[in-house]
Symmetry: C2
Subunit: 220 residues, 2 copies
């Protein structure tokens, strides 16, 4: 089954629990060329309990972390995109984010090693261009894509479908609430700010009350 934080698990396993900080909490800073091992900027870390951002980052990044695809998806996606046109690594990440409606942006940690492997297999080659490197399929790569059409899929579609509709909609609304709160904080009087604080506290309470009233599931 999918990890606790993947939306695939959300989709297939409604029992999945959000408790705890997810991967970021357990993730240790590494040695080697990265030397620092201090506490991370996550919740509870350092002077700022909300993370790197004093306002806590966005709430969905807290949940929507970790694996969003399956093994082989990044490789398949790269082959699919490069069979359309040459692209650099950054463009590949951007395009996948765009085509998945934003639910999946492969990290550099998967894209660059996958590109390296594809080069090792002589399916892809890189050319210097404008200060960066543009990747394109080789002749061998084109033949491979033709012969393995079923492997060169569009995993961004699955990612998009898996994310569903409710989460984006509610988080979009929550985002608008945050925008309005920021405007009050900026342009409002102290009395306005106090009023806004109460509105937000009431909304939070109402949402948790919805969760609390959850009875054993019927017809799910």
């Amino acid at each position: 089954m999918f990890g606790p934080w993947s939306f695939r698990r959300f989709h297939h396993d409604p029992e999945a629990c959000f408790a705890g900080g997810g991967r970021g909490r357990h993730h240790r800073h590494r040695g080697g060329h990265h030397g620092h091992g201090g506490d991370g900027p996550g919740p509870g870390g350092g002077d700022n309990p909300w993370g790197g951002n004093p306002f806590g980052g966005n709430p969905w990044s807290f949940f929507f972390r970790g694996r969003k695809t399956r093994r082989g998806d990044v490789r398949a996606a790269i082959l699919a995109l490069l069979s359309e046109q040459p692209r650099n690594g950054y463009q590949i990440m951007q395009e996948l984010e765009q085509r998945s409606g934003g639910v999946w942006r492969p990290s550099p940690g998967s894209v660059y090693p996958a590109l390296q492997l594809l080069q090792d297999e002589d399916l892809v080659k890189a050319e210097e261009s404008g200060g960066g490197r543009v990747f394109q399929l080789t002749e061998h790569g084109r033949a491979y894509v033709k012969e393995h059409a079923e492997d060169v899929s569009a995993p961004w579609e699955a990612a998009r479908a898996a994310a569903g509709e409710d989460l984006p909609e509610l988080l979009g609304l929550a985002h608008q609430v945050g925008v309005a709160a920021a405007q009050v904080a900026h342009a409002g009087t102290p009395a306005h700010v106090a009023e806004a604080r109460k509105v937000l506290q009431d909304a939070r309470r109402a949402l948790y009350r919805i969760l609390a009233e959850d009875a054993p599931e019927h017809g799910r």
Copy 2:
């Protein structure tokens, strides 16, 4: 005066308006080694109207963009930090974010050029370490810091003070609202989701009503 998006302007100029997309909107993609000039992931861009993140990124990043410090602050901050101990570029950015309570994280676009200039002036030197480069003051740099103590300030304190209290507090609450909404979206029934949608819509409406009732300022 400060730019439309700096919190300094927020602080000193309450008339400042949030309308429009800020710097990101006008910022053009550049040529040269970065070739792509397509529409950005910002509001209104591409398939996903909320930005790179399908859920719109966090609301405060929309407002809290652009300049947060004055000319020379990054240089002063680097000198102050390196007079304590050697650090690499990434650690400098992290430390400033931490000490400012998160309101200021200088971008690589200011830190690395400033480090280069400080090296050119023989105030700082770099040493390879663990795959990266650690920067430290030279003898000349140490003398400079001693002679110009008034220039080597703690701009993170000013940044922190300028951000004030209301914005972080309200955005922290909005963040918690977002977290609760995400939990409902994930674990709730369709009826729960509909109920949560209403809670969020009501909260947004209440916040804008607070702003709408603003009379001409008294005693501000």
